[in-house]
Assembly symmetry: C2
Homo-oligomer: 385 residues x 2
Amino acid sequence: MRDVYILGVGTTKFGELWDLSLRELASEAGLKAIMDAGIYAEDVDALYGANTSGGQFVDQEQIAALIADYSGITELNIPSIRIEAGSASGGAALMQAYLAVKSGQYSTVVVGGVEKMTDVPSEVATEIIGGSLDAEWETFFGATECSIAAMIARRHEFEGKAKRENYAMLPVISHKHASMNDTSHFKNVIKIEDVINASPVAEPLTVFDNAPISDGASALVISADLKKINNASHPIKIKSSSAANDFLSLHDRKSVDSFRAVKKSSDSALSLAGLDIGKIDALEIHDSYSIAALIQLEEILGKDAVKMTEGNDFYFNSSKPLNVSGGLKAHGNPLGTSGLYQAVEATVQLRGKAGQRQVKDPRNFLIHNMGGLGTTSVSTVIGVD
Amino acid sequence: MRDVYILGVGTTKFGELWDLSLRELASEAGLKAIMDAGIYAEDVDALYGANTSGGQFVDQEQIAALIADYSGITELNIPSIRIEAGSASGGAALMQAYLAVKSGQYSTVVVGGVEKMTDVPSEVATEIIGGSLDAEWETFFGATECSIAAMIARRHEFEGKAKRENYAMLPVISHKHASMNDTSHFKNVIKIEDVINASPVAEPLTVFDNAPISDGASALVISADLKKINNASHPIKIKSSSAANDFLSLHDRKSVDSFRAVKKSSDSALSLAGLDIGKIDALEIHDSYSIAALIQLEEILGKDAVKMTEGNDFYFNSSKPLNVSGGLKAHGNPLGTSGLYQAVEATVQLRGKAGQRQVKDPRNFLIHNMGGLGTTSVSTVIGVD
């Protein structure tokens, strides 16, 4: 099987971008990625678009076609396909693009994610986000994603597996890293007491346990074309990408406070990459909710993860850098985009170009993107040879 | 590259299925396909789901995860990804599943499409279908998909490329074939005058020029696993699958009454399959609107296509059988499902099991699924060795 490399990356700023439309965001990220890859539009064989709920946020489906239009590549009639897997859409699109290149049908592909969430009032956005839950058994009865996360948190504490401070620490780390990233939605540094004492959303979770509603787009150019790989200024390898799913409804799962699919997809991605977790220098995980981030860490790193939140292990200059981008929590969470921004961050870090927040000499990143609360899980290993 | 076969197919009836929910439809089709393939749920490595607008029709995203849930395969944590490309979602999902198996990462995959359109009033459905147009430049100004199709028809007649009767003939053919298919939405036989004189929707198009709003689900099991292929009662080969796109907005295109992407994807699929159009024994095309079907035929078969509508060439027992399933027009058009039902029909025909409407000894089917009006085009060649 042939090797697949990331040749270029591009991203917009994340945030409440009132003056930019979905199509403007998408094309900004796409064109930046194409320029960064040092290729031309006519070198692109296909476009994979990630988007969670464009039909509901901005009345637009066929979003991949729209992105191609506004990026000026439709003239060439290249295929444009949208991938949706709730908030794991970005990771899932990267995986499909990677498999399409590996299959031999395409050589060079643009994979871009975009979400424009702030054109609707935030209570409507919360309802749309609830589309990733089970419509008939959860949302119909009033559940929101945050309320489900809160139930998971309560259970996890009741089982004695973690204390409030363990998961309250994770937004603190993300905000610290986001403060050093130009494209972040939030740049304020916060303390653990800020998280615990902020306005409650669904107790015990407060506003600081929740990732924000953001606009934003990110894109990557990936390729297996040896000539283009050699021409690129700093290609980075996709070593593997693997997905797994769990039951949509919490009540169907054997355990409500573990994420089986996360363990399965991360183990599978590591195994396909021929690496064990010790060889992973840094992690980007899906911190849509602090408690969800903690449980992901337990599934990926094992039980030590809870203890590690009590020290400094997860900062960018420590032993296991975590969410050095600022994470979904503080860099922002434009749903379908988030998984692709994780890959942009990994690429920038592996190139050694992350400035103030640069991890020291990383060789391998594991990025984990999630749909719903552990329903869809996509793990990708990105590294240098 | 390894060969990929269709091992099993399953479909629900299409129509206004008030008593069945999205999840029931999806699991009925999925389980039928698994049983037909002679495999067990634990043999499935991944699930690809096709759906156009579940977020808007039934407030549900992460639809692939839902299908996996209700088909009883989530227990195994297999990955479930949804593909969306407007009404080409089914064809696009089949293509992604095919590429994922070809890439070597998965051996056996279920690809299933489902759409539940009749839970909303038909004027809301029309608006949701409009999501496949350009939201800012077309739908915002009141365009519906049928009104855009009507403009294409007017132009085509004005250019002298076809007469009203040429495209009015295509629904007649589809209804004839649908009358011989148990799972059809409509089984009534119609005449060319019925089409022309029916209630107008957007002149010159009448209700009989439009495919209906339907509920329905279809699924296939595809595999590259030699043992499973040998065990299957009647495996059929996917010889190629290729996609192309055109501008979303009609006003951006060089010609408003041709579909460049259709020519590109069908030429590419034939070339990848190593066949020319003469070797294609039957066609299933996307007859969402009669005029759209005629233009597809012109792109795929060349200019003779218009003349062929004046004879009997397109009936199941003639020289170039067309939409022997009954097409989207009469078998039904549950958006994201339609492209997969085309593949189900091709498989049943190639197995020689299509009963009354059986094409005589077919060896190769070309199926063409389309998003919007020529925006996304996916062509797949299915055949026997």
